[in-house]
Subunit: 219 residues, 2 copies
Amino acid sequence: MKISELSRRTGVPVASIKYFRREGLLPAGRATAATLAEYGEEHVQRLRLIKALTTLGGLSIAATRDVLATVDQAENTDKTLEAISYALPVPVTAASAGDADRDAAAESAAAADVMDLIAAMDWQVPGTSPHVRGLTTALRELRRLDADYRPERLVAYAELAHSIARLDLERAAAFDDSPALAEQAVIVLALSGPMLELLRRLAQEDQVRRRGADHPDAE
Amino acid sequence: MKISELSRRTGVPVASIKYFRREGLLPAGRATAATLAEYGEEHVQRLRLIKALTTLGGLSIAATRDVLATVDQAENTDKTLEAISYALPVPVTAASAGDADRDAAAESAAAADVMDLIAAMDWQVPGTSPHVRGLTTALRELRRLDADYRPERLVAYAELAHSIARLDLERAAAFDDSPALAEQAVIVLALSGPMLELLRRLAQEDQVRRRGADHPDAE
DNA sequence: CAGGGAAGATACTGCCACTATCCAGTAGCT
DNA sequence: AGCTACTGGATAGTGGCAGTATCTTCCCTG
């Protein structure tokens, strides 16, 4: 199909399709002449995946490119899962120093909390993992706010996070070694977070409403 | 204290403090003269909260303003919790039509799945809730991708989301009617998501590494 | 063989979150 | 009183991101 039909089929403007090609998110069509190329179903599917990762997953164009690159280089299941896990952007990144040095105490206290948590959960992750650094940064900020995020609290959340990760991995590995593995794994690993967030917000809304209904005092 | 000291104490540039004031995120200092104002500890705390909501919570300046406005209007516990729940931005918002109409079937199928889920979980939320709409949009996109998000799958995630929401609400309500309630509730409700996401990613990393270690075949 | 797409390159736009500059008007020291 | 560093407020500018538009060249189709 021609680019105009690809655009019509996916609802993505032609200019945007060209943009995604430029940015390396979408492979070029099969050129049939200097100014003509043929696109196939794989382009339709890829565009849907791009839309899902950016609008649902909230990934930037650059992050989406990185993630899709790992999809295209998929070898075996384990390597693919690991590559995707590291290609996904970390939600919290350390600040640009500046005031980081001022609070070395909070920093190391937060780092200790993270280490305790990882030990308590028996998680096997290197101390250099970007996720560890992100969590440390987050705990440092929360400490500054006097928020109640002591390790005991965290463990309860960590247990639940562990259960969710197990569900995710079960699903991602269910496509074991099939050609569609990498793509489905990306969908599971990248979109599980936003889906869960939506469910959590919904559950939160339910609980808040029940509280309000239980004792409708003032007002 | 003067604005320069407020800046030094929080690590936020003076220009940014002025920006937050303009945008209504930070109340003005107590003016002591036409060109001089005095700031207090509440300004320090508010700036920390702004930083936490934007950098950790990922909220935009506009969303942060809305959330902080509900904090400042806090009356009683239940109302405050409800107000915050609705002031927080919904992660997934419906697209701008366009290709929405093309897929009315997927749309209604997704809506039916969401209704089934809410019924199965016995959640009390109005069908007009932004979270319901967001979830519907997300499921529609996932259906297009042929992703495995059938209701049975979703229920497992929903149960976990429910547990998390219960933990959140317990914490948010623990500050019951104290003056700090609203602020702590915001921290819990707005930052629980990012914290959980970080923990989930960490747990995911652990699981991926264990898989890789269990059977280190090719390489 | 004329006209409408198509491809690729380049330039432009709109939004966001700051950041910098400018303009008085003090505060506080001498 | 005079000087200077700093302040609040207004306004303008910056850089990054995600597209969107334009322009040129080319060539398939009717």
